[in-house]
């Protein structure tokens, strides 16, 4: 089985991460921001997997499982915040939630 070169996998991870970051920066809907964060997390997971495969170690896969767990927790909290936000402010626009300032 011919291995995919690590550079490809890392390049894909970098592209995914950049896409996710841009999503976080430009999206206004909280749901999409959360989805973008998810993309970023998975990009990091992909990088771990690629590195684990390159050196033939299990650590990369362990870390990915960790990231999955963290992502699940993050989404549950994030969605709860989104729900609350909808109920209190009547909007999911992230720019509307700018009360926490001087």
């Amino acid at each position: 089985m011919s291995a995919i070169p690590m550079g490809y996998a890392l390049g894909l991870a970098a592209i995914l991460f950049a896409l996710g970051l841009v999503g976080v920066l430009v999206r206004r809907n909280i749901i999409f921001v959360l989805a973008s964060i998810e993309v970023m997390l998975n990009a990091a997971g992909l990088a771990f997997l690629a590195a684990g495969a390159r050196w033939g170690r299990a650590d990369g896969q362990v870390m990915f499982v960790f990231i999955l767990a963290v992502a699940a927790a993050e989404v549950s909290v994030g969605l709860a915040i989104a729900l609350k936000c909808r109920r209190h402010l009547g909007t999911l626009d992230i720019d509307a939630i700018s009360k926490l300032k001087d």
Partner: protein, 640 residues
């Protein structure tokens, strides 16, 4: 007995803690019980202890209870310990009994007032601190009680903190007594460095062994202790705080003047009398201060128009008598007068409180009059108190105690004719001002209409129930009968009080023969105090027109204004200390050090103004900033 003693100061302190920490909504009834019962219990324990003491042989009347060593640094090991001897016992009796009577009185007097619970908490702290002061066996532990008394007096004088004037009076009391306290602290340090201990009994013993009579060290120590005593006991020149301390509620004045606070100085000097014995110069100073104060305050009291201020100056004057007695070495006479004074002064204040209440918070005695019929019980008790204050012969406690003081002023070897004359003139002035109040308030025509109330319900509503009247009656009894245990030596009667104190406070060496030993001085004093009462009757009740006529003379008016303001001491201190101090602080406001500090503040404010721009509340900016920051760091890490 060992087991009982610690509970005496413990009970009021526990009451204070409970009342202070309980917070929230305690029912007034519960507050009253928590506030009064522990001190009453202490009084009961004191009574039991007294019984045991009287049963013991004279040299077995000592009790010491040691708890633990406070700190232990090198040779410095002050103890938390109580020491009870006849002197402490007398003080303990006065504090607990008069204290609990005043607390009982306050139950009704303060009813419905804002801060009922706070009031009882502070009062208990006051009594507890005073008990620690009189029972402590170590000068450092004594200082704890001393400062506790100062603190609670501050809290109570400023009890009605809503009025800034009351807060100012409280601060004044605290700061002026602080001058004396500082001197006392220096005195304690001197004693410690010279004698290596602060335990009272050890210190007194080694002072006697190491310091020669009249040596500089003994004089310095005695003068420093005296300064502390002067501050607390409101003697010249630190007396200015006491008249202003009338800003507090009347029961507080009664407590400050009778049971706690001002008597602390007298107790301290009596407690350390060995040092004073070694320093005749300091003792002379004590006597002169006492004599000057008793005249000064007596003359001021004569001109006061506020009933409470008359009593305040009268206290200063009577404490002056005690200092005079201490100054001539008549230690037990001073304590005897302290006790008698506690009874009649508490009585006078409590009665005055009821008068003021009945008049609808009117303090001015010129606007009172004819209250004899409206307030019969208050009138009779006040009359007894005033008679005791004026040393009405043969009956009152004040007569026996003051007679002892005045007698020893002349017959003690440390006393002299000059001091005696001052004391006698003081007795004349005392009778004059005491009965001036009686005649102006209770006799004559009503100057302003008393809001009359005839129904018992209304009367109780103004604080005339049992709890107000019983303390008056008990104190009136004590103000008369409290002196019968000690009859003048010329009469050859019992001298139980001085005998009881003899092991602690030895009687002064007296002159033999001559004028001093004859009955003449005693008769002169008695005649003068009665004659002064009659003079007071003539001036203030029979022919008020004469006084009014003299009062219009401009010279007299200026004199009386001067006396009214306490002979200008406040103005003098204002000009000499307060104004220069304020000027200095104002001048120091913009100096170099201040400029440095303000620059730092200015810089911080500038940075803050810049940084607050970055906090917009927009999440995307934060994310962008964080990512660019991370990218920048990574870039630096790679490219370096």
């Amino acid at each position: 007995m060992h087991a009982v003693l610690p509970f005496v100061p413990f009970f009021p302190m526990v009451a204070f803690a409970v009342l202070a920490l309980a917070g929230g909504r305690m029912a007034p009834r519960i507050i009253a019980i928590t506030g009064v019962a522990p001190t009453a219990l202490s009084a009961l324990l004191t009574l039991i202890t007294t019984g045991a003491f009287l049963g013991a042989p004279p040299d077995g009347r000592v009790l010491s209870v040691s708890f633990w060593t406070w700190v232990h640094i090198g040779g410095f090991a002050p103890k938390i310990a109580f020491y009870l001897d006849p002197l402490s016992l007398v003080m303990m009796l006065v504090v607990t009994f008069v204290g609990s009577l005043i607390l009982l009185y306050s139950v009704e007097f303060m009813k419905g007032q804002e801060g009922y619970r706070r009031f009882f908490a502070y009062m208990n702290l006051f009594i507890g601190s005073m008990l620690i002061l009189v029972l402590s066996s170590d000068l450092l532990f004594l200082l704890v009680g001393w400062e506790g008394v100062g603190l609670s007096s501050y809290l109570l004088i400023g009890f009605w903190y809503g009025d800034p004037a009351n807060g100012a009076a409280a601060r004044k009391a605290f700061i002026v007594t602080r001058v004396g306290d500082t001197a006392l602290l220096v005195g304690l340090l001197l004693i410690f460095t010279q004698l290596g201990s602060l335990d009272i009994q050890n210190t007194m013993g080694s002072a006697q062994a190491e310091w020669a009579r009249g040596s500089g060290m003994a004089t310095a120590a005695a003068l420093l202790i005296l300064s502390g005593a002067i501050g607390k006991s409101a003697q010249l020149p630190l007396q200015t705080w006491l008249p202003d301390a009338m800003a507090g509620p009347t029961p507080v004045s009664a407590l400050i003047h009778a049971a706690t606070m001002v008597t602390a100085g007298v107790y301290l000097v009596a407690r350390t009398h060995v040092v004073f014995d070694l320093a005749p110069a300091a003792q002379m100073v004590t006597a002169i201060i006492g004599a000057a104060t008793l005249l000064y305050a007596g003359l001021s009291a004569l001109a006061q128009t506020d009933i409470k201020r008359v009593l305040a100056y009268s206290t200063i004057s009577q404490i002056g008598y005690m200092f005079l007695a201490l100054g001539v070495g008549a230690w037990s006479a001073a304590i005897f007068h302290l006790m008698a004074h506690a009874f009649f002064k508490a009585l006078l204040f409590l009665a005055a409180g009821l008068v003021i209440k009945a008049m609808g918070e009117e303090h001015d005695i010129r606007r009172m009059g004819g209250l004899r019929k409206d307030l019969p019980i208050v009138f009779w008790t006040f009359l007894i108190g005033a008679a005791s204050l004026a040393a009405f012969p043969l009956v009152t406690a004040g007569f026996f105690s003051k007679d002892l003081v005045v007698d020893l002023t002349l017959s003690s070897q440390r006393g002299n004719l000059f001091l005696w004359v001052v004391a006698v003139v003081g007795a004349l002035v005392t009778s004059l001002y005491a009965f001036r109040v009686v005649f102006l308030v209770f006799f004559g025509d009503p100057q302003s209409t008393l809001p009359r109330s005839t129904s018992p319900q209304e009367r109780r509503g103004r604080g005339f129930g049992k709890a107000s009247v019983v303390p008056l009656l008990v104190l009136a009894t004590l103000a008369v009968a409290g002196g019968w245990m000690q009859l003048p030596r010329q009469w050859g009667g019992p001298s139980a009080f001085t005998d009881f104190l003899q092991p602690v406070l030895p009687a002064p060496a007296t002159r033999v023969g001559g004028f001093a030993e004859s009955a003449a001085p005693q008769v002169i004093v008695a005649v003068i105090s009665v004659a002064a009462i009659y003079l007071s009757y003539l001036l203030f009740a029979r022919r008020p027109a004469v006084v009014a006529g003299v009062a219009e003379h401009p010279l007299f008016q200026r004199l009386s204004n001067l006396a009214l303001s306490g002979w200008g001491f406040d103005r003098l201190y204002g000009a000499v200390f307060v104004t220069p101090f304020l000027w200095l602080t104002r001048g120091g406001r913009g100096d170099v050090i201040d400029a440095g500090v303000s620059t730092i503040a200015w810089l911080a404010r500038l940075l803050q103004r810049l940084l607050r721009r970055s906090q917009s509340g927009r999440l995307r900016y934060y994310v962008a900033a964080a990512s660019f920051g991370v990218i920048a760091f990574i870039a630096v890490g790679i490219l370096r």
